[in-house]
Symmetry: C2
Subunit: 196 residues, 2 copies
DNA sequence: TTAAAGTTTAACATTTTTGTCAAACAAAAA
DNA sequence: TTTTTGTTTGACAAAAATGTTAAACTTTAA
């Protein structure tokens, strides 16, 4: 069957990502998604067969996207610090668009540890660790297990975005004020990681 | 009706927290919770009337707990750094027990922004900001918007715990290795915050 | 020991969510 | 234009999740 491509399949998938990754409504129904997309719910089944299948696709593409972002930066030929600055720029831009992407992936792993196949990032992750280790060996970074450097970086970039509703409430912030703070964090994160 | 206190009500609530806060199964059903507690599902309705009511209680107690942890530390009479060291100890211990507590709260806020009453932490949060500001004014901390200091601290403590399934997969870690890393993070977090 | 009152259970009812199918519709090809 | 084929829709069916009730059970106190 040769498809006619009305864009509906993509629209549904994009809307699902919007609902899950951007709005953080992690237990949205297919009806919620169809409504948000402005299409008949049946189309979810027509294009994806089942809700699980849609979720699975969203999950895998979320994982692939994560993988790609890592790859894209890891293998560039820049000095480590610039490389990380680029990475933080790129990653924070995407995370501001889709703050709940990683949270969605984790929730899925926690709910359906069976359904999803494990991503093998060993090689990539090891390469990153080696680069971090080298910086430490050569005295440009505080010595510690390289995994902590990575954890620190991801934590400082993503967590405040996930916690947005709480920070807004506790600190009485408008959306604009919050966004401004997040933009400041690119530099702050970098400074923290490299000790200025 | 004078209650006989078989401990069942508490058991259900505790189990709900276990499932939501510890296992991160954010869309568990009442049946899931009843099974985990080893009780008949009907008891959820007997003691809590509805699933929503149970969720609401879990949410409010989660918020209260967060509030208490903040209070407990904010108003002690220690030098700022020691105060923060205590806080990190306390907070990380609880977060290792219940890594998804804040994620649950946020997801609830995103799903039912109406259902839950807003917590007013303004006073507490302002007091914390003032203390941070003072440290900056007196040159013991890098100058920045105090909210960033708080964000950095919470991020570095909590986010790696939430991402445990991913870190375990990417870095091929056992539970024991992961726990060891998390314990190391108490000191690392502190060092990062205070620039050693 | 028996009556009263709270607790637990199983069967049933309702609601919500998901899935299926045939008919209506729209676009491309014959 | 008509036919073909893929798309969309609404009605219906099935499954999953939640809620209700009456009866069984347990504990306490009369």
């Amino acid at each position: 069957m040769t498809t006619r491509d009305t864009g509906t399949e993509q629209l549904i998938k994009d809307t699902a990502k919007h609902v899950f990754f951007k709005e953080g409504r992690l237990h949205a129904t297919t009806q919620d998604i169809a409504d948000a997309a402005g299409v008949n719910r049946t189309l979810v089944n027509y294009y994806f067969r089942s809700k699980d299948a849609l979720i699975k696709q969203v999950y895998e593409e979320g994982m692939d996207d994560l993988d790609n972002r890592l790859t894209q930066v890891m293998y560039s030929n820049l000095p480590f610090r610039e490389k990380m600055e680029n990475f933080i720029d790129l990653f924070m831009a995407e995370s501001m668009e889709y703050p709940y992407q990683e949270a969605f992936l984790i929730t899925e792993m926690n709910m359906n540890s069976n359904l999803h196949h494990k991503a093998d990032m060993t090689e990539k992750v090891e390469y990153l660790s080696q680069q971090i280790q080298k910086e430490m060996d050569e005295g440009r970074l505080e010595k510690m297990n390289p995994i902590h450097f990575a954890m620190n970086m991801f934590s400082m970039m993503i967590y405040p975005l996930i916690m947005k509703p709480m920070y807004k409430q506790f600190y009485n912030l408008s959306d604009e004020e919050f966004t401004k703070l997040m933009l400041e964090r690119k530099e702050i994160t970098c400074k923290m990681l490299f000790g200025n």
